[in-house]
Amino acid sequence: MTNKLTRRGLLKTGAVGGAGLALPTIFTSGANAFTNEPTGGTVTLGFNVPQSGPYADEGADELRAYMLAVEHLNGEGDGGMLNTFSSKVLEGNGILGKKVEYVTGDTQTKSDAARASAKSMIEKDGAVMITGGSSSGVAVAVQSLCQEAGVIFMAGLTHSNDTTGKDKKANGFRHFFNAYMSGAALAPVLAKTYGTDRKAYHLTADYTWGWTQEESIMAATEALGWETVQAVKTPLSATDFSSYITPVLQTDADVLILNHYGGNMVNSLTNAVQFGLREKVVNGKNFEIVVPLFSRLMARGAGENVKGILGSTNWHWSLQDEGSQAFVKSFGTKYGFPPSQAAHTCYVQTLLYADAVARAGSFNPCAVGEALEGFEFDGMGNGPTLYRAEDHQCFKDVLVVRGKENPTSEFDLLEVVEVTPVGQVTYAPDHPMFAGGALGSCNPGA
């Protein structure tokens, strides 16, 4: 690897000014057309992922995907999805001929730390785009930072409706699906599998992502005839969910919906199975558990407990389309195991950004944003996809998955039950769950 140290793009012009005091240039008004305009032979991207805290493994997987994407953009490796991507402007010579370099940082899955890390990438390293993250709080916080600083934010794993709903920003873009889509995709499958006469009990992580998911799933299932018996908020810091699970037994609910992610999901699911919920028969029906947002990485922690459990996911490595196969192949060859959905969305986001720059012919965030808005593409693993202009959300097929009964390996935990077509998960930009907030206008910074 010959990556040199990254540095402010500004530097080169400055250095030309030579020794002695060059005229001070003002960050916010002056020489550059936009923040961190890359003027040398390289361009710097900022990969801001959780490296400590509960999502560190997911962050590590995201980072692997980013490194792979950088390789492919720079023309190294087998090219991965560049070969299957419907847009063909990327030539493997970096972005607009500039070699891609990157810096990394640790979000710690905390808004403050994530912003600090992103700021250092912008201020110190001259990053022209920030991407990554594994939670919605961080995504929204970093997105608004990027809006103010005038760089593009390509969200990583963030599932909350708010990211492209009330907290959407002109400089921010999300490829990952959201809670509404989970509900829209999952509900019909649930109705088909478990019947329309069901009583659901929700356990919901008590913070914004949990609430939006609860709201989405509740609306989607109720529309199909389900009844919501109770929705209970659980503290984020909870590790033992027994005292939230046992009250379920006291109601006549016959489905438990776990609006939890990460460690919370592992623990609540494990606890629910321990309490024998899955062997229970209520109202003459088998009791069922649903985990609306599945993460394969996290599902490993729940082991056998995920078997037969329905949920949704953005992408899964077992998909047989060309794009997915190409990505799994180059990722698997390089790292020895298949990529996670977080890795997939991060890889795709990097390519989409590069492609948009190439099509726009400029790194200017406004030009890039314009190129991404309304962009239709294919060959990235989820079928034909639209980057909608109104809210910067990608619309694509959503996967409904089930915990696999007989896994062949430690990675083979989920099986795809249904690929929900994009039409079914599309909603109007002014849907009430996404109301409030506005994109505003794009900010190029300088």
Partner: protein, 400 residues
Amino acid sequence: MLGLNKKDATLLGVVAVLVIFAPFILNPFPQDSAMAQFNAGYPDLMQRFVIFGIFAIGFNILFGLTGYLSFGHAAFLGVGSYSAVWMFKLLSMNVIPAILLAMVVSGLFALLIGFISLRRTGIYFSILTLAFAEMSFRLAYSVLTPITNGETGLQLTLEDPRILGQTATETGGIPVTSLFGMEMRETATMYFGGWSFQFNNGYYMCGVILLLAFYISIRIFRSPFGMMLRAVKSNQQRMNYTGLNTRPYTLAAFVISGMYAGLAGGLMASMDPLAGAERMQWTASGEVVLMTILGGAGTLIGPVLGAGFIKYFENIFSKINESVLHSWFHALPDGLENALIWIAEHFVGSGWHLTLGLLFMLVVTFLPGGLVEGGQRIGRLFSRKKQADKKTATQSTPAE
């Protein structure tokens, strides 16, 4: 000078020089060199050094002087941040009212919590403060979301009413924080050979406030009030039997240090108008405790050093990734390069916590007085006059 003795005035002067020239001092390596990774002279980190310095100075007024170990000080920082952001949302983007409100609100909050918690001493006091702070954090993260915006953190939107000022700029963006029109985020960059130095308005405003806060802290340390606080730490029983009521002294110290925390929180929000709930979590309270002890509790400059040390590792070491390591060692033979990278990887990037943990252990084991003691030892090494006894004992000594 300024009512300080010569030694303190010198210390203040040194700190002032460091603050003014920080953009140079923290950027010792040319941009192109392999060592540039260690440069810390960019606005965000410099602001953080200064703001956490203020936080730690304030904490030290309580802990260093009275010995009362509060494990909930982050709550005041958080409350200060929320107040400031609300001020930006409702009143104006000027930082002055925001910072003032932050100090007032956190002071009142500290008065309430201090009044209750100071009924107990020792570990019982620590746990009471911890309990209050954790409660604040958990409620802010969940039930109080309408006020705090929960997980994401309170931020500015395009719909804020803002009585004195515009809701949105002409270009449709959110206005930025300023000091009477001087934008906090504005940065002038100076190029000099391979170097580039950044001078940021926000940083210099924080710097001025740090100097002020440091000056006040020196005055408190040297005042009869400061002496009383040290007496409280030394022997509460004798205080009582000397006709002194310890409670108002400790409460005053608690409120003052709570206001310092609020000031830090307000500044943080002024530099970056987003207030996340995590800054009230026990880990954040623990961090300022660690900063103070690491630097040297009860010393004037120690807490600032401790704050800088921890923030440096958090922001610089966490960013050193594999490709950076490769660029450092690429001149070496492949086998050696890989071996070195394999070792180094444990300590940088995602392993930055490990380095920090090890350094905590090393510092506290070998430098019982914290980083300040390290500095003193080096100083003694260089000044060959071994007249240690010449040093008067009037200076405050590290906690023992």
